[in-house]
Assembly symmetry: C3
């Protein structure tokens, strides 16, 4: 049983260095793999672990395809990350989560006017509000709460405890993980005489096709109109997307990133972990915001920024390097002052700010 | 059908520039509005979009009430944000979420001793623990889990999947969004011999009247006594409030802000997005902590602070400007050294810290 | 009724200063305590409140055991935090959450092959997938969703709305708070031609014994193999743990901390609030990352780091102090230039970066 390396090479468009007839049963981590397994080396930092692994064969990129050093048969590809995605889908096809039977569980509560496609799965203890529609092949898992007038697209998956407020749209093949809240009221108040008056949030949330949203992330409904996550965008866990935000297509929003209200992100934008985007600004296509950074002003397409407030990343790196040399600069300044007979005491008088 | 501008002006205490008889059907975004709609311009940054909008009329503040430039009838007010709140409430009155019928859904499970006011709504698959009370007109939506001995005030709304641990109190007219967890154990351990022993958390959480808490935010129960969110305070999504924290009245806690244990916030405090407050410190009334900043020491009433650690915001702005000029300062220092024949190499010897 | 101080002293290994026969009924905060209560003073910052408290007796550490100044009977111990934990467990034994009766609620849905120990509690509206096992004395509260092939250890507690994806293991005596999501897909994509292809996440999550995980935190399943939280580690609310991460034993992960994919933490690591750890790096045993800081590179065992990027904390403190003196340094630099007749205007020409 298993797969011949030659056949896997054909699947991923790669080539075998070594024995093309070697059979592997599955794919495992470097630590977990045994002689019957394929493992993978996608970064030079794991080269020593790869050499020490018991794996029978390794998937590697061209740059790391050192068969002598790695001491075993190799499956060599241009893009090992993409090959890994293809191989996992082939070698682990039986993810039980993808095998939910069609039909509505008897404990699910559907308000009048709901339309559930007969090929969709609606699990136990699901509540779906009036006039909502669940598309063909969609899976709505246990305890999902769907409001009124919602749309869940074909093949979309809503994991347990996801919540869709009224009017939310989730596109085809989108994946919404457990605990995600789509369409809660945006954070809008008009402060009048020291009291915060709620601005009604009567817009909605639209999540386009093939978006994935990680566990416990939140996307607020717009004040008016739509908060929108563009097609193919991937959102990690615990990410906050404020009201009226427009996120483009094929963006990557990493864990705990946050986007304040009315910001607009172009296509292919990357927000690294714990980064933030201020309200009402615009990030052009392919902008990258570094981890822990805060974009407080609009950024032109293609730029990578870092820092608080974020500046171009090269500038941020230079600043960071200079800050780490401040002690030395301070010493040098003092040395010059001494040489010139300047009294440091005088100039320090005003520093109590 | 619709509303005459003159009548809306009366509602919001404004005046019409142009035709007071113009009728509008609803209020929409600048992009979404058509000739039968009112839209709004609340910030100069959207002036070009306002001029290009198809909206029949615009709500504007006095400073932006340039009828010639905007080319249409205007509804001019002192405070356009507040007027927008009033108009939305008038023009979008039929939020279906506010029209839940009174009564307890047959699938709700109420432990003995619960008292649910007959005018309250308790939705499907709600669980309420013993001796809890649900006030008049309150709405408890699907999958809400309420522990034992809880109180939900008059007119309060608990959105789907909110969780109240035992003993939690939610005040009148408070709004608790989906996925919020009130009253989980505070993060308290006594470390003894390298092992973290749990300190029992036997206090509770009190959320006062007219507080709103955003989706998936968490407020921990006190070790002893109460963790308290003062009346009228508004909390955004994914905010963390640690045990024993006291938050004053009419505060604003923006998305992903965090408050460590035993901190005390006065009234009218504003925590901007992703900001943090250290444990055991005190922020006076009306303190403002900037986005991404961390207040690590107490701050006097009325101050605005920024940075990590947070300093007065003017000082932070100057520091940030100076950091961005460090490259230039370094060049100037080097130039002086050259002029004085100082060897930079000497002074750099000790910088390997 | 109540407890004599002498008997409490024996319980916690302390001694009484004053009347060993004084009886206390319970333990309360300094503000909440009356003459029949014990309160506690664990930090010098609360000394004034302690002196003003109405408490009949105080638990204090040796350093603060000033009986004259505090004006009442004292229970003096080496480690007041640990003593407080012991006292709370003794004086507040009746946490109703710990008294859930054994048995499976009739509304719980168990797929075939589940094994629930007869001494375990399974609450209302729980769903447990096929072939999962619930250990002796475990408590699974309302609305918990447990996938297929999961294991919940002896005495573990899953609070309402916790979600365990397929294959998740939770160790003995672990506590998982409301809204926690264990085992959602890791954030892994292979970007190919501008499109992000999902890398199947076929590993799982293992939470070892005596771990506590705070409300709404998320731990992602591994791509292959396990994401692991080591025994005795305590995780606060809204913490993100990425796929393939290995967290050691007895670590402390404070609120809103985040760990990116494939990072490895040793034993006894402390991540302060809102801190972050980059992917693929290693933090040695007992490493401490300060609040709001970001460890972007590996850190040796025993080091404390702070800043973005994180450096040794002493270095960070010096840097922070120097940044706050930049204004003064700038003035001094200018003064030297004037003295030397240097034109600042020249050197500023290139600063428009």
């Amino acid at each position: 049983m298993g797969y011949r390396l030659a056949e896997l090479a054909e699947l991923v468009g790669g080539r075998v260095e070594g024995d093309p007839e070697r059979a592997v049963e599955t794919i495992r981590t470097l630590e977990g793999a045994g002689p019957a397994d394929l493992s993978f080396l996608t970064s030079p930092r794991y080269r020593a672990q790869a050499a020490a692994s018991r794996a029978g064969a390794l998937l590697v990129g061209k740059a790391l395809a050192d068969r002598a050093g790695l001491g075993r048969d190799l499956l060599v590809v241009d893009d090992p990350g993409y090959a890994l995605a293809l191989l996992l889908a082939r070698l682990h096809p039986d993810d039980p989560r993808s095998r939910r039977e069609a039909g509505v569980h008897p404990t699910a509560i559907l308000e009048p006017g709901c339309v559930v496609d007969p090929t969709a799965h609606v699990g136990p203890y699901v509540v779906i509000g009036a006039d909502s529609r669940i598309g063909a092949g969609a899976a709505v898992h246990a305890f999902v709460a769907i409001g009124r007038g919602c749309v869940v697209g074909e093949g979309a998956v809503l994991h347990p405890h996801a919540v869709l407020y009224d009017g939310t749209e989730v596109g085809a093949a989108a994946i919404v993980h457990a605990g995600v809240v789509l369409g809660a009221d945006g954070f809008g108040y008009a402060t009048h005489g020291g009291v915060h008056h709620k601005v009604p949030q009567v817009g909605r949330v639209v999540v386009e096709a093939e978006v994935e949203i990680g566990a416990n992330s939140t996307v607020d409904r717009a004040t008016l109109g739509d908060t929108r996550i563009g097609a193919g965008t991937k959102v990690d866990n615990l990410v906050q997307v404020g009201h009226n935000v427009q996120v483009g297509r094929h963006c990557i929003l990493c864990g705990q990133a946050g986007i304040a209200g009315s910001a607009r992100l172009g296509d292919g934008v990357v927000l690294a972990g714990q980064s933030g985007v201020a309200g009402h600004i615009e990030l052009g296509d392919r902008v990258q915001v570094a981890a822990k950074s805060a974009a407080l002003a609009s950024v032109e397409a293609g730029k990578a920024v870092a820092g608080i407030p974020a500046v171009e990343i090269r500038k941020w790196r230079r600043q960071t390097a200079l800050v780490s040399r401040l002690e030395e600069m301070s010493r040098r300044l003092r040395a010059l002052e001494r040489k010139l007979g300047e009294s440091a005491a005088d100039s320090e008088a005003g520093e109590e700010d």
